[in-house]
Symmetry: C2
Subunit: 330 residues, 2 copies
């Protein structure tokens, strides 16, 4: 029996999905479900291919209340830039949660991952950052540096952005892009300590393997979202900062303790006591969030399959409304 | 930068891939690579969705020498027949092993899995069955019962087939299909002990959770391929049969000890000593196979991501040659 399967290209998806409040809200809904404990999210399937300096991750999650579940394939092949190709790539598939039949193939080349990753930053800032953020800082100068600041600006409309990167020219280019995009003042800040000192909200977006944000830079009224670490070898935040903060929140504890900032803290023997709460528990009010404007909060984001299911579901809805994509009968 | 991605439907794939010696050979090549130890094959990602009586498995493997690697998604949703839909389904994706870019989406609805699963049965029979097989028996009456017999017939051209199933009418229908397809005598045999007694080659293809083939039925010159068990709860072969046989061979030990017949034997405390050899080691001659026509051999097949990479690569080649499929630019 032939069925219709939607094929959506990156071009289609860029026309109907962007980093807006609808994307943030659907990702927030996924975190809320995660926090209730009724999401089924198996461990990430990960395959490293040393011969090609490549790796591929597969994520999925079933969220009650969502009509479908996504499976996302994210390859990262780090020799690609030599061939003029991007390192990161991938696609998502959306399956009916009732029949398991494939409904759509989203050939997004990683675009939806960019959006859902940034949307998680917005959710973290919405629930954890101080109410008033005048200055936001970002460490790193890539796609996520731009998108994380754009996402945070949706929920905390700050007037000034500081950008730090190892390469000053890239930091300046990133600041210029942010200024143009958001209509805010944005400047490169070569001293990361000064960047943190001036900011109420800092997002770290680097693939660092040694901390780039030191514990002694924490100050009252600071929120940090660390989204760069998603592998066992990565570490952006000084492990001492995690225990020094008033609150650490994980997107998913079982992932953060293996792939996130929490891992470095545990390995350094600096994490004592209970496991931190998850972002969804803060959203649902089943765990305490920021207690005052003076608290120091840190959110450790590793990226979850639940976000993929949320954004893929949203994308298919938007594409159908906009009558985008091709239909294949199979 | 837009790239071409091949989209192949089940209809396209049925036109260019079938259960023939080319499919068997490419699957044998995958097992040979597995046996050499140079395949990268992470554990299966498995998600159960009890709310929908469904499950979904994701398999993958990188095989040196193959230009691509497949990722296969296999949903099984067991309420589907009530809706007039098949329980099993799925698709495969083929990625470049050099760049990680998606090259093809194979919307096969499980067809390629059927072919590569049967092809593994042919590889097992080729390397383990007695040279002369006059009668082949099959337990189970589904798609794999038909295909496994067809596959075995490619490498051991027997003249008679016996079919056992719980439902005699289904066994008769299966026998009729096999007779028509292969031009051999094929009859339903209601007594499984008699089926085994008369056969030199038996394939078990059921989702049994209690053994359907007893140890006391083993006889000199018998080969059994057990392909039904692919989950922790399944068990087709009496655990005592595994230790009683002269040789047990696994498609992949790390899978069989969790999902195959070997699991039941280990759990019953009946498996002692070394882990069994793998099919690829028999193919490569790095482990001993059948020593005489009188040996009793058993092959435990759980299904490997390496087979998926092999059949997907083969399918894309065949489809390109036949100029089948659609091209999407993404």
């Amino acid at each position: 029996m032939a069925r219709d399967i939607f094929i959506l290209t990156e071009q289609d998806l860029r026309k109907c999905v962007c980093l807006d409040s609808a994307s943030v809200d659907v990702v927030e809904k996924a975190f809320a479900a995660l926090g209730k404990g009724d999401v089924i999210m198996p461990p990430i399937l990960s395959m490293e291919i040393p011969q090609a300096h490549g790796e591929v991750d597969v994520k999925t999650a079933y969220i009650p209340g969502f009509a479908g579940f996504a499976i996302k394939v994210s390859p990262g092949f780090f020799e690609n830039p030599k061939l003029g190709l991007p390192s990161l790539n991938g696609l998502m598939m959306l399956f009916s949660a009732t029949t398991g039949l494939v409904e759509a193939v989203l050939l997004d080349n990683g675009y939806l991952t960019d959006v859902r990753t940034a949307a998680a930053g917005a959710v973290a800032a919405r629930h954890l950052a101080p109410r008033e953020v005048k200055v936001a800082g970002v460490m790193g100068t890539g796609v996520q540096a731009r998108l994380q600041i754009e996402a945070a600006h949706l929920v905390r409309p700050f007037r000034k952005v500081l950008v730090w990167g190892r390469d000053e020219a890239k930091a300046e280019a990133c600041a210029a892009d942010i200024a143009a995009r958001l209509g805010v003042e944005a400047v490169a800040e070569p001293d990361p300590a000064r960047l943190v000192a001036q900011s109420q909200l800092v997002v770290t977006t680097t693939p660092a393997r040694e901390p780039i944000l030191k514990a002694e830079w924490l100050h009252p009224g600071l929120h940090i979202t660390a989204m760069g670490s998603d592998q066992a070898g990565k570490n952006e935040i000084d492990p001492r900062a995690l225990s020094a903060a008033d609150l650490l929140v994980c997107d998913r504890v079982s992932q953060c303790e293996k792939l996130g900032e929490l891992r470095s803290s545990i390995e350094a023997g600096l994490w004592e006591g209970a496991m931190p709460p998850e972002l969804g528990q803060i959203i649902n009010g089943t765990a305490s969030g920021r207690r005052s404007e003076k608290d120091v909060t840190i959110c450790d984001l590793t990226g979850t399959g639940a976000q993929d299911t949320a954004i893929a579901t949203h994308a298919l809805e938007m594409a159908r409304e906009a009558k985008l994509g091709s239909v294949i009968q199979s």
